[in-house]
């Protein structure tokens, strides 16, 4: 029997992989993928807590997180398409019009 601790560690490590990818990749598609990795890490911890505490509310939250992730991906990729139409670049370092 694997204890809850191991699931939390796995979820944490997966979350940190996402954080690292988000902080270091400059391609905006890769940054979106890193966000998806982070969301999945949180989902994993919610499902494992839900399993070990015998409570279904964790699963309900995961359901809503997946909904929001789908909306976020659709909006984010639409913004990306609009961006690409104007700039022809997916590098976030080149987007500095709003720099003060």
């Amino acid at each position: 029997m694997v204890s809850l601790q191991w699931y939390v560690w796995l979820s944490l490590t997966l979350f940190m992989v996402g954080v690292f990818g988000f902080l270091t990749r400059r391609n905006i598609i890769m940054m979106f993928l890193s966000i998806e990795i982070m969301l999945n890490a949180v989902n994993l911890s919610l499902v494992s807590f839900s399993h070990f505490l015998n409570d279904l509310r964790g699963n309900i939250i995961v359901f809503f997180v997946i909904t929001v992730a789908a909306a976020e991906a659709a909006i984010g990729l639409a913004i990306l398409i609009a961006l690409f139409r104007n700039r022809a670049s997916a590098n976030v370092d080149e987007l500095k019009e709003m720099k003060g």
Binding site: M1, V2, L4, Q5, W6, V8, W9, L10, L12, T13, L14, M16, V17, V19, F20, G21, L23, T24, R25, R26, N27, I29, M30, F32, L33, S34, E36, I37, N43, L44, V47, S48, S50, H51, L53, N54, D55, L56, N59, I60, V62, F63, F64, I66, T67, A69, A70, A71, E72, A74, I75, L77, A78, I79, L80, I81, A82, F84, A90, D93
Partner: protein
């Protein structure tokens, strides 16, 4: 869940996600992510959440990643592959991530216990997971459920408005 399955799944999930965020070609990264989502869905199955495993495969691997793949293929990002893969500050990024990891590891011991709920594995197996989740979703959580549908509607309209060509 037995240790060998957990070991394999956790190794595969971590290895695939690390491989995905270090790829230069976004298409390869998206395909690696799809394989990662299948492993994650297997882990949900082993944790007794079969409805979420199905949703994970249908929504994440089936819809979100296909959307990514479409966008990657529609946009021509050949020239992106020539540039630098990581930002120049990547050692700072990895140390920030490691620092955050240690910080959360310190506090996780405090949060691992909690009040036990009523949905033990036996109850869920007897009622089936989908039915149990559906009952909760349509009674206690019906308002968040409606809000979720509104979020999806806004996402649909917003995505079309943002991505359509300007007329005139």
């Amino acid at each position: 869940m037995n240790e060998i399955l957990f070991g394999y799944l956790s190794f595969a999930i971590l290895a695939l996600s690390i491989a995905a965020i270090t790829r230069k070609n976004p298409v390869h990264a998206v395909l690696l992510m799809i394989v990662m989502f299948f492993h994650l869905a297997t882990m949900y199955l082993a944790l007794g959440a079969e409805f979420l495993a199905a949703v994970q495969i249908m929504v994440y691997a089936g819809a979100i990643m296909v959307l990514f793949l479409f966008v990657v293929l529609v946009l021509n990002i050949r020239e992106e592959e020539k540039g630098e893969r990581f930002a120049s500050g990547w050692p700072l990024g990895i140390s920030l991530a490691a620092g955050l990891l240690i910080l959360i590891l310190i506090i996780t011991d405090k949060v691992l216990t909690g009040r036990q709920g009523q949905f033990t594995q036996a109850v869920i197996l007897q009622e089936t997971h989908t039915k149990a989740i559906g009952k909760l979703l349509y009674t206690q959580y019906v308002f968040p459920f409606e809000v979720a549908s509104l979020i999806l509607l806004v996402a649909i309209v917003g995505a079309i408005v943002l991505a359509k060509k300007r007329l005139g």
